[in-house]
Amino acid sequence: MNFEEMVSKLEHFWEGEGCTRLFPYDQEVGAGTLSPYTFLRVLGRKPWKAVYVQPSRRPADGRYGENPNRLYMHHQLQVIVKPPTTDIQDTYLRSFTLLGLKPAEHDIRFVEDNWETPVLGAAGVGWEVWLDGMEVTQFTYFQQAGGQEVPVVAVEITYGLERLAMFVQEKENVYELEWHDGVTYGDLRQQVERENSIYSFEQADVEALVTMFDLCEKESQRMIDKKLITPAYEYLLKCSHTFNILDARGTVGVSQRMAYLARVRRLAYGCANLYLENENHE
């Protein structure tokens, strides 16, 4: 089963479970959690069920397209179910059968792993899911977001699509994955990985990025003041990605690092508060 087929099977499966199928958010994010489809929608009391693929960029994890397991950008399939159904684990396990994996033939484990994104004031409790020893999913019950306890818990299921595909296709190297018949992951991504690694480790213009961060922060704050959540949040995402490049570039000192994270967090709290204010008005 090639990559695109695997993705569309999983998307359709969750669609069948009542999730709205969405397209990837059109901005750079470090994880599917940062997409407003997750971060904003897990706030407040309104129910929400969604599934979407999210390309996730982590500049510091780039390896010039040379490491078989590590990527500047990988793909997550993000599922949000809020509030969670009582058989959510079983539903999740059922999704494996679509990929030709029979649970009885494997060892599937839920191994404690609690997750935290300090930059969003978000934290959850859950597991990493092991498939014959390979970590293929992060399964989390949101407990906090925007620095506050969530009033209604959401389950976040994040499939690591490259990992899962390597398991399904029995490949040891991510670049050998079949994306489409006759088209490999390497054909599509290896050069991009190389270029982006060179950029974020060697070429990124630190001064320009620092300025960019400042500008985006200012714009985000200005939009928070105008109570326009979406642009405010989109500029926050630009801040977050800009910071990630600076971080990978190795020019951010410890105290600076804390300060940058605190600045992004302040914006995240601002957006979260606006979102909740809006929901309370409705």
Binding site: P68, K102, E112
Partner: protein, 691 residues
């Protein structure tokens, strides 16, 4: 009589929580049964990653009728002036269902009250149990809790089923939106099918059929037996320190099936500590050794489930292990493009602890402390130079990719890189050993530089954290202060390496003040010393040597390293008759001279005339220089024996001499003699604590 079975079915609990939760549940069930006077036999606990189970045997169907006393109003308000019951008393009697004529008066703490005796009839146990069941899940606490449904109820993971059977009777309860039933689920294989159970015995049987072994002890035995069966024929074995991992694995599976996997050739070329981290920490699998204790390219792992299709599971695990080991090999190769020294320069990007600056600052402090080692330890200039070099490189590995990926390998990776680059063995060992002992079971560093570096590092941490104003009195130990304190005490006591902690802590405070701010420097020296003293007391308590320690507690901390030898000497002298006498005399001396300073010598013209006092003076003055000499050369047994020689003249003195003589000059001469004895004995031991 019937057995009571309770099951709380959950989503997968963290393995580290399971044993403790099982214990708590047993305690609470037992407490509730006793609270309601429900007769019962043994109460057993069982657990798997997905269920907490209690089996209470031989529950009596009914509780016995009991007579209880109920306290009513005070006598004064219960009866009027004529001795007739007041409305208050009548109300009380109505409420309790007793006749006013059957009440009686009892004095309670000097005041008279009316009491009634009434009979509580026996009740059905099942009803009483049903009443306390919903409380149980609320009473179990976990180090980390979560909520998941609308009532906001907190548990370690979501509860998905409740079951309680008293014999064949199904008990009804509800927690966090979950209704109890007489069904449960077996091992997760394929589609979940619910299992209906009819009795506690049936529960155990049906679960076993559904591939769940609820008894963790049995799972552990199964794992050990299966591992043995696989390894013995090959001449292999597991390592000696597998017990913690086994505890964890037992609670990761409901039905264990052990398998042996192959490792790539890379495994035997990588440092053993790296392979161990990859397999044990990341994969919860076991390293395998040959009879000579060398790692062989295999690993042992435990599947949650049956042996069917286990080859698929094995292959999956092998390829994960392979990928991870290759990844580690890649990191090591990348890291080693540069010298360890190069990573020292990057320590300013790593924070040591909030408010305490970076690892670069910590390194500077350690170097500074190492460079002044002669002030607090007996080191040669060469040893001091080694220590400075080791301190300089000690934290460098924290900036390597390997340690960022495998934090538990701190120290280990630095030493591997330095050794591969041909670094001096003394420094290599010191870097590896600086974090020892990480647990009470682990040995202290074997090398001198390792011990000193470890002590310096821990003193720096302790001083810094207490200097942030952190109050360590609570049961939580978020910064690992207890481990640091215990490490310092154990290293000094067990190696008998003399370190002047008082001086070291003073220097550590100075060092903190040069590299940055200490938010709370007030009384810091005292607070650190008090904390260390607390750890010392705790150490000897755990060794069951607290009585011996009490006799030596007066010693300044610089003598900490000599305490084991001093205890040994006391231990050898324990049977001596003179020691007992001496202990009594020491106590008498202390009592009589209470508030008076010790006298380190006696004036020549001291007014002593009786033979017993003269004899004691002579004996004491003869003993003093010998005792001081013995202490200098750490001959504690001889010092004690010399003190014991004073037992006879001291006893004779107390038998014949009245210290508190009427003549003031005589009295003060005698007291001064005793103050001199207090001084001499006190050099060696507080014998009075041995009575």
């Amino acid at each position: 009589m019937s057995d009571l079975l309770i099951e709380i079915l959950t989503e997968e609990l963290p393995a580290r929580f399971v044993d403790n939760a099982q214990t708590q549940l047993v305690e609470h069930v037992t407490a509730h049964l006793d609270e309601f006077f429900i007769g019962h036999g043994d109460v057993h606990g069982f657990s798997t990653p997905r269920r907490l189970v209690v089996l209470a045997q031989n529950i009596k169907e009914q509780t016995d009728a009991r007579t209880i006393e109920v306290k009513g109003p005070a006598k004064a308000s219960g009866y009027d002036a004529q001795g007739n019951p007041t409305p208050a008393l009548l109300g009380f009697c109505r409420g309790q269902g007793v006749d006013p004529a059957d009440t009686y008066v009892v004095d309670v703490a000097g005041k008279s009250y009316v009491f009634a005796r009434k009979t509580v009839p026996g009740q059905k146990s099942s009803e009483l149990i049903e009443a306390f069941l919903p409380r149980l899940p609320h009473e179990v606490t976990f180090p980390k809790m979560m909520h998941w449904e609308e009532t906001g109820f907190q548990f370690a993971r979501p509860i998905r089923g409740l079951l309680a059977l008293l014999g064949t009777e199904v008990l009804h309860w509800k927690v966090a939106g979950v209704m109890s039933s007489n069904t449960t689920f077996g091992l997760r294989v394929g589609k979940p099918k619910s299992i209906t159970v009819t009795s506690p015995d049936d529960y155990m049987r049906r679960l076993r059929e559904a591939f769940v072994i609820v008894d963790p002890a049995e799972r552990r035995r199964l794992i050990e037996r299966q591992a043995d069966k696989l390894l013995k024929p090959l001449g292999f074995k597991l390592g000696d320190t597998m017990s913690d991992l086994l505890d964890e694995v037992v609670n990761l599976v409901e039905y264990p099936s052990v398998f042996l996997g192959d490792l790539p050739k890379t495994a035997t070329e990588l440092p053993e500590s790296v392979v161990r981290s990859v397999l044990q920490q990341q994969m919860h699998s076991f390293l395998v050794y040959d009879q000579n204790g060398n790692v062989v390219p295999h690993f042992l792992s435990v599947r949650n489930g049956l042996t069917d299709f286990i080859d698929i599971v094995r292959r999956g695990n092998e390829s994960v292990a392979n990928a991870r080991l290759l990844d580690a090999a890649f990191f090591i190769q990348e890291d080693m493009r540069e010298s360890l020294e190069a990573y020292v320069g990057r320590l300013d990007t790593l924070i040591f602890m909030d408010k305490l600056g970076t690892m670069a600052a910590k390194t500077l402090r350690l170097e500074r402390l190492a460079a002044g080692a002669t002030a607090y330890a007996l080191v040669t200039p060469e040893e001091e130079a080694t220590l400075v070099s080791a301190a300089h490189l000690s934290k460098a590995d924290l900036a390597t990719s390997m340690v960022k990926e495998y934090t538990s390998l701190q120290g280990e990776i630095g030493s591997v890189y330095l050794s591969r680059a041909g670094g001096s063995p003394d420094i290599v060992f010191a870097i590896r050993e600086q974090y020892l002992p990480r647990s009470p079971l682990e040995d202290i560093p074997a090398t001198r530089a390792g011990r000193l570096l470890g002590v310096i590092d821990k003193v720096d941490t302790l001083t810094g954290i207490l200097g942030t104003g952190f109050n360590p009195s609570g049961s939580e130990d978020p910064y690992g202060l207890r481990r640091a304190g215990n490490g310092i005490v154990r290293t000094i006591v067990e190696s008998r390496e003399s370190v002047d902690l008082e001086a070291l802590v003073r220097k550590a405070i100075e060092a903190h003040q040069t590299t940055g701010s200490l938010p709370h420097p007030e009384d810091l020296q005292q607070r650190v010393m008090d904390y260390l003293k607390g750890r010392i007391v705790q150490y000897f308590k755990e060794k069951q040597l607290i009585r011996e320690y009490a006799a030596l507690e007066f010693l300044p901390l610089v003598e900490l390293a000599t305490i084991p030898e001093r205890m040994q000497a006391l231990h050898e002298a324990a049977g001596d008759a003179n020691l007992v006498t001496l202990a009594d005399s020491h106590r008498r001396i202390q009592n009589i001279t209470k508030g008076l300073p010790t006298a380190t010598s006696l004036p020549a013209d001291l007014l002593l005339t009786d033979p017993e006092e003269l004899a004691l003076r002579q004996a004491a003055e003869a003993a003093a220089p010998r005792i001081r000499q013995f202490l200098t050369v750490r001959k504690y047994a001889e010092a004690i024996r010399t003190c014991e020689e004073l037992a006879v003249p001291v006893t004779a003195f107390f038998d014949r001499i009245l210290v508190m003589a009427a003549d003031e000059r005589v009295r003060s001469a005698r007291l001064l003699l005793l103050c001199y004895l207090k001084y001499i004995l006190g050099l060696v031991c507080d014998y009075s604590k041995l009575t």
